[in-house]
């Protein structure tokens, strides 16, 4: 087991995560729960193994039970050349910056080739959009190449708020290549359709077909079972100023 030096937030690998040349994918509760729904599907589809967790004395005292096992809600999985960071609870708003720092520092130590975050961008008329489009915010030459190859449009202007914004900023400061995928989604309702769109784009990035038919079949079940997480995430997003994602930045550059 390896621990980072004791920090406010600690990444704990119970099994050593692969050291180099990995793709690190991050799926957190955010707009439309796109990240967590997509990450959950990826774990099943790629049969990923749980290898660690993220711990902090400042996190609220929450554990989750799965098949009678006690688990930390923030977990790390590995499989098929991918290391996946996922969470079943929203990141506490006052810890979002520390969380971003801890995760990106750890990713830097792992010498990851690219970080990929899976998320949604809120659109008010989502119910009328049959196939949500996926946009991206990319940093680094590698991210730019992948966007061209996958045919993903960049988000040119706007604001981002929340854990992905914190991670993007830390990656920029540390020159870690990152691609943040954002599918058009419901702001306040779980959106398996947007999660499927993001996974289809991920397929193009990793050159491996990720089957999303199961996700479509289970869409209504996911919408019912993630209601409570969506409510909590909505409150957390409000605290983090998520409404600002609808704003146009006032300056030009």
């Amino acid at each position: 087991m390896s621990h980072q030096q004791k920090q406010p937030i600690n990444i704990v690998e119970e099994t050593q995560a692969p050291k180099t040349n990995q793709l690190v994918v991050i799926g957190l509760p955010d707009t439309g729960l796109v990240g967590i729904i997509a990450a959950g599907h990826l774990i099943e589809f790629l049969k990923m193994k749980e290898i660690g967790y993220i711990d902090s004395d400042h996190f609220p005292p929450i554990i989750v039970l799965h098949n009678g096992q006690v688990k930390n809600p923030f977990r790390i999985y590995s499989g098929d050349g991918i290391t996946l960071v996922v969470s079943e609870v929203p990141t506490p708003p006052r810890l979002v910056n520390e969380f971003g720092k801890a995760v990106v520092e750890w990713i830097q130590q792992k010498n990851a080739k690219l970080v990929l975050t899976l998320g949604g961008i809120p659109v008010p008329n989502r119910v009328n959009i049959e196939s949500p489009e996926v946009f991206a915010v990319g940093l680094g030459e590698k991210a730019g190449d992948i966007m061209k190859k996958a045919g993903v449009k960049p988000l040119e202007e706007g604001m981002m708020a929340g854990p992905y914004a914190s991670i993007l900023w830390q990656c920029k400061k540390r020159s870690v290549p990152i691609l943040s995928l954002l599918a058009q989604s419901f702001p306040e309702y779980p959106d398996p359709g947007a999660a499927a769109a993001v996974l289809e784009t991920l397929s193009k990035v990793i050159d491996k077909k990720i089957e999303v038919k199961d996700l479509a079949d289970k869409a209504e079940e996911i919408r019912v079972k993630t209601r409570d997480l969506m409510k909590q995430t909505g409150r957390s997003m409000q605290e983090m100023g998520k409404a600002r994602e609808y704003e146009i930045p006032p300056l030009y550059a």
Binding site: V127, E188, Y189, E221, R223, V224, K225, R227, D228, K231
Partner: protein
């Protein structure tokens, strides 16, 4: 009116009043829980109903309410409005089973959604329009307040 009907009338009145009292307690209980920072559960085991997610937004002249209703067909949505509330009830097309959850070591099944939503402004319920698409119910209700144009000198 037959004597049977005569006898039923006071019973029905009492039954309605008890339902109203139960609803008031429900609402008060909910606000007490919220005051302590606790969430009321998103399910009602007695009624076997789940509480759906909903969103209320205000435009200048109307209130727009959306409700997320997976597993529901349009014809099973029952919608009622007063001048300051919207009540949604919808039967699901199949039972929704929560397996081995909490202290329930079997399938806990729900077969409806139910929610009473307080509106931010007084509205005209008889002018409400509702649509249902991809499992999302959208209700638009014009606001009651009359507007007077003010001339800028």
């Amino acid at each position: 009116m037959s004597s049977d009907e005569e006898r039923r009338k006071p019973r029905e009145w009492f039954s309605r009043k008890f339902d109203e009292i139960e609803e008031r307690f429900d609402e008060m209980f909910g606000s007490v829980l919220e005051a302590f920072g606790l969430e009321r559960p998103s399910w009602d085991a007695d009624r076997q109903c789940l509480t759906p997610l909903s969103e209320v937004t205000e435009a200048e002249d109307k209130v727009i309410v959306t409700v997320d209703l997976p597993y529901v067909n349009k014809e099973d949505v029952k919608l009622h409005a007063t001048e300051d509330t919207l009540e949604v009830e919808a039967k699901t097309r199949q039972g929704i089973c929560f397996d081995k959850w909490g202290t329930v070591q079997r399938c806990l099944e729900f077969n409806c959604f139910r929610k009473k939503i307080r509106l931010p402004d007084k509205v005209k319920p008889n002018e409400a329009k509702a649509t249902f698409k991809s499992g999302i119910l959208e209700v638009q209700v014009p606001k009651r307040a009359e507007r007077t144009r003010i001339q800028v000198e």
